[in-house]
Symmetry: C2
Subunit: 206 residues, 2 copies
């Protein structure tokens, strides 16, 4: 590595710190940058430099934005009767890419995870409860909260926690959870017991 | 994707253009940057912006450098009696990381590949021939040229071409090629015929 010029070495070491990128890949990526047009590297460099100072959290749903509200909260065509609660912005993006949902979101930025000392106060749960309370007070169109945390231990616990908190407030709201079952294109032979069990349990009438 | 702030989206799209990085990984990497300290992003951004203008090729061996000569050519402790000819700077790095070679290098920046219209004049072959000629004229200590192009069709052709060119100049030089055979830790059962053939052909006395 000491044979590389200083700034190229720095770039490679930076890449190496990113998740899923090892030393060889980092070197390969750094070399690849050398073959890109200088103008593009300049724009990318500036974007990275100003990334933190320009990116904020939407004050309503905590999605990422450069303004006060994110593009989803600002969009009038969105169905404000539904709020889908997700763990991360990447989860939100998965819904958006699929174009399968037209409601609004609430990003928790984490999940309740006692083993790693992450409690409800460490994620944006209270902000969700406040948002829902205020919307109900303001007689809004909000009808449903869809809990879309991941189907793992911590995700389940987080969904359960939010569900209980919401129910304890006696709000006139439908609270739902994403369906469990076989993923599309799956093979029964390779499905795990947990998924198969959920698929039988939640079977639908044909 | 349109739900991401503009500069974050730009960063994700930039990552997506790098080799081996798809849309999901690109988004994940862009998000990861948000969690890094701003000062580090600034340094990285500046390094990327100035990368092209600061990085040059060593005028002797065509390794990457910020000065006239690369760190290897500048190093007095290097054994200048050997020049190892490699295709890319990444190949050079593989030797350096292993700490298995103390001589100098010559980087071709490619290989002869007629199918993609890459001829000897498109890579730094003539510069190697000139370098060797001059060294011999100057009565240097140069003793050996090690051809370390990749063991594939184009790499072989490139090594063969350089070997013939060097031999035609009637220089008093040893010209060698990297050994072929089983890689360390390999399993005979899964070795391909080509490799096994080379391993038998090049067997050494025990």
């Amino acid at each position: 590595m000491s044979t590389l010029p200083t700034n190229l070495k720095h770039i490679a070491l930076f890449f190496e710190r990113l998740p899923g990128i090892g030393e060889k890949t980092a070197n390969r990526l750094a070399m690849y940058l050398l073959r890109m047009p200088e103008s593009e590297l300049k724009i990318f460099g500036e974007n990275v430099s100003t990334l933190k100072s320009r990116t904020k959290l939407c004050k309503r749903c905590f999605n990422l934005t450069e303004k006060e509200l994110c593009s989803i909260c600002e969009d009038n065509r969105r169905d404000t009767s539904k709020i889908t609660v997700v763990e991360t912005v990447l989860d939100l993006l998965s819904f958006e890419v699929g174009n399968i949902y037209n409601g609004t979101y609430h990003v928790l930025h984490g999940k309740i995870d006692p083993l790693n000392s992450i409690g409800p106060e460490d994620i944006y749960v209270n902000q969700l409860l406040d948002r829902v309370k205020e919307l109900q007070k303001a007689d809004s169109t909000l009808e449903e909260i869809i809990l879309a945390t991941n189907p793992d231990m911590e995700g389940e616990a987080t969904a359960m926690y939010i569900m209980k908190k919401l129910k304890s407030q006696n709000l006139k709201l439908k609270i739902s959870r994403l369906a469990y079952g076989l993923p599309m294109g799956a093979n029964l032979e390779y499905a795990d017991y947990g998924t198969l069990g959920k698929a039988i349990e939640g079977r639908t009438k044909y």
